[in-house]
Amino acid sequence: MTERNGVRSGISRRSFGRIAAGLAGAAALGGTANLVGSRPSFASFKGSRPYKIGFVAPLTGPVAPEGSSMQKGFNLGLETINAAGGIAGHPVVAVTQDTQAVPAVAGTVVKKFIQEEKVDMIVGTITGDEEEVASKICAAAGIPVLFPEAGFWYKFCNSTTVMLGENSFDLCAPLVPFMAEKFGKKFLLIGSDFSFPHAYLAVAKHYISQIGGTVVGEFYAPLGTADWSSNIAKIKSAKPDVIFSGVVGGDAIGFVKQAQSLGLLPGAHLTGVNLQPEFYPAMGDAVDGQYAAVRYSEDIKTAANEKFKEAYHKKYGPAPIPLVGTTAFYSFDFIKAAVEKAGTYDPKAVFAAFKGVEAETILSDKPLRVDPNTMNIGYPMYITQIQKGGLYKIVKDVGLVKNDLKCEGA
C-alpha cells in the first residue's frame, strides 16, 4: 500500500478481516480474468497492486432504493472490468459502506476510506447533501471522486470531482421545448422540498422562459410526504399543459399513484426526474405513454448495451435497469481510461487524466468525453416515451446537448 496522508498506524495493518477477504476474493477474480483475457502490456505503468475504490452510498434510510440501485450497477461493473483484465492489468478491488443518507455519516465514511483504507478513488453517494461533503473532503485529500448521480455540477467546480450523471441542463434543455411544442406552454412545477429539486426546477424555469412559456404553479413537498391530494387538487385547478416534476425517490411513486387514483393521470402530461425507469413496476400503468428525457434507455441498440442488459437481468432479474445503476456500471470505463491514461495510480495524476478523457460505453458506439471544463460527461440525450411494460422507447435522438457552462475560475 502506498504511504499517504500522514501518519500510518500499526493498527490499520491489523485491519478488519473483511478487507483481507475482499482482497483475496478480488485477486481470485482478477486471476480468472487473466487466464481468460490476454493481458495488455503496460510497460510504463507505475503500479503493482490492485486499484482500490471506496464505494459509498445510502444503503439504508430514505434514499436507500437509489443507493442500492447504484450499488447493483457498481458491483456488476466491478465484476465485468475484472473479468476483462482489470485496469492496466491489475485487478480492481472495492470497499463499500453505508452513508444512511446523512451527510455527516457520509463525511465520516469518506474520511475513513481515504485515511484507513487508503483507497485510490471514491465512487458513489446519491443526495446532493452527501455529495457536497464527499466532494470537499476528497478535494482536500486530492483524491478523485466520481458521482454517478449529480445534480449540482456547479458546486463541485474546483474540486477533484467527476460528474458522471447528466446535469439538469442536459435534462431540461431538450425536454422543455419538446413538451411545449407537443402539449403547450403552460408548465407547472412540483418538486420534493430539498436542494436538488429546487435547482433542477430552476433550470427548467430558465428554459421555459427561453421558449416563452409560463409557469402556472410551483409547489414543493417535504421528502417523505405520504399524501399528495392537496397538491394534486392544486395542480388540477391550475390546469397546466405540462407537469414538470422534480419529485424524487419513494415520493415520486406515491405522487404518481395518487395522481392516477385522483384522476390526474393518465390524462395529464407528466415529465421530469419523477419518471425513473426503476420506479415503473411500482408506478404501474399510471405513466404509460408519458415522455422523459434520458441518457440511457434499454432501447439503445448497441452491442455493448445488449451485453450489459443480458448480464444485468441475469444477475438481478427482469426489473427495469435504473439509470443510476447504468452510470455506476460504465463509470469503470472512464476509470480505466483515466488511470491507464495517467499511467499511474497517483490520485492527482488520475484526476488530471480525467480531463478530456474519452471512453467507450454502453450508451453509444461513439466514445463519450469528459468535458475538461466542467468535469461533466457530454451526453447524447434521448426523448423517450414510456411503453406498457416499462420500456423507455426512444422517440427522438437529441444528440449532444450544447451549453456554455463554465466553472468560474476553472
Partner: protein, 290 residues
C-alpha cells in the same frame, strides 16, 4: 365549491386512515399503558404483507394480512413487551423503538429497500359535484368508517368491550372479577397490531411502499391520541378527525412544511394550556384518606 368538496373528500379519506391508526394506538396506550413507537412500522408491515401477496385476490390478501398482524402482535407482546411493563415509561418507549428498527430492517432484508407498489383493486372514479374521486378511496373510507363503527360498537356495546374497558379502568379490580390481565394484554396488543397492519394494508395501493413509510404516520397519530381524553377509546378517533381537519385546512392555505410547523405549534400551545389534559400514562386518581 369544488374546492370545498375536494377539501371534504381529502379530509374524510385522510381522517379515516389516521383514525384507525390512532384507535389502535389509543387501545395500546389505554390497556397496556405503553407508548408504541413502532406503530408506524406495524403499518409498514401491513403494506409489505399486501405486496407479498399481490398476486392473490385483494380481499384474500387483506384477510391473510390481518392474520399476520394478529400473530405479529402476539409474538411481540409475549416476546418483548411483557418484560418491560414494570420497568417504567422510558423502558417501554425504548423497547418499542427497538422493535421498530428490527421490523424496518427485517423487512428491508426480506424485500430489499427498493420501492414497491401495488395496484388498487378498484380503479374507477366517482364524480361528486364537479370533483372526481377514486372509487378505491371512497370504498376504503366507507370500509374504515364501518369498521370503526363496528369496533366502537364492540367496545361500547358488547361484553368483550365491557371487559376491555373495565380492564383499562382498573386492571387489578378486573382481575378480581376474573379478567386475566395477561390474556387481556396479549389480546389487546394482537388486535391493535392487526388494526395498524390493516391500516397499512388499506393505504398500500395509494403510496410507495418502502421500509420507512410508517414514519410519516406516527406523529399525527400521536397527536390524535394526545388531544383526546386519556384512556378513552372513542377519543383518539375524534382526535384523528380534529388533527386531520386542522392539518388539511392548514395545507389548503400554506405549503406542507409550514402547515406542519403550525400544527406542532398548536400542539405545544395545547400542552401549555392543558398540562393535565394530555397524558401518556393514565392512572385513576386515588386520594389518600385516613
Amino acid at each position: 365549491m369544488s374546492g370545498w368538496i375536494q377539501f371534504l373528500l381529502d379530509f374524510v379519506w385522510l381522517s379515516a386512515g389516521l383514525a384507525l391508526v390512532a384507535f389502535s394506538l389509543g387501545l395500546i396506550l389505554g390497556e397496556l399503558k405503553i407508548v408504541n413507537i413502532a406503530q408506524g412500522d406495524l403499518m409498514m408491515v401491513g403494506a409489505y404483507s399486501m405486496y407479498a401477496m399481490r398476486d392473490l385476490p385483494f380481499l384474500v390478501a387483506l384477510g391473510a394480512t390481518c392474520i399476520v398482524g394478529l400473530l405479529l402482535g402476539f409474538v411481540l407482546e409475549r416476546g418483548v413487551l411483557r418484560w418491560v411493563y414494570d420497568k417504567g415509561f422510558m423502558a417501554t418507549l425504548l423497547a418499542t423503538w427497538g422493535v421498530g428498527i428490527v421490523l424496518e430492517q427485517g423487512v428491508a432484508t426480506l424485500f430489499t429497500v427498493s420501492q414497491k407498489g401495488i395496484d388498487a383493486p378498484l380503479k374507477g372514479l366517482i364524480e361528486i359535484g364537479d370533483v372526481v374521486y377514486p372509487t378505491y378511496r371512497v370504498a376504503v373510507t366507507a370500509g374504515i368508517v364501518v369498521l370503526l363503527a363496528l369496533l366502537l360498537l364492540l367496545v361500547y356495546r358488547t361484553s368483550i368491550g365491557l371487559r376491555l374497558r373495565a380492564s383499562i379502568d382498573n386492571v387489578e379490580m378486573a382481575s378480581v372479577l376474573g379478567i386475566s390481565p395477561q390474556r387481556t394484554f396479549a389480546m389487546v396488543f394482537s388486535v391493535a397490531t392487526a388494526l395498524a397492519v390493516l391500516a397499512g394494508a388499506l393505504i398500500a395501493p395509494t403510496i410507495a411502499i418502502n421500509p420507512t413509510l410508517g414514519l410519516s404516520f406516527l406523529a399525527p397519530a400521536f397527536f390524535a391520541v394526545l388531544i383526546s381524553k386519556p384512556g378513552s377509546l372513542a377519543g383518539p378517533v375524534v382526535g384523528a378527525v380534529a388533527v386531520e381537519f386542522t392539518f388539511t385546512l392548514l395545507q389548503a392555505y400554506f405549503n406542507i412544511t409550514i402547515a406542519e410547523s403550525v400544527l406542532f405549534g398548536l400542539l405545544a400551545l395545547f400542552i401549555v394550556l392543558k398540562p393535565q389534559g394530555i397524558s401518556w400514562s393514565w392512572k385513576p386518581a386515588r386520594e389518600e384518606t385516613s
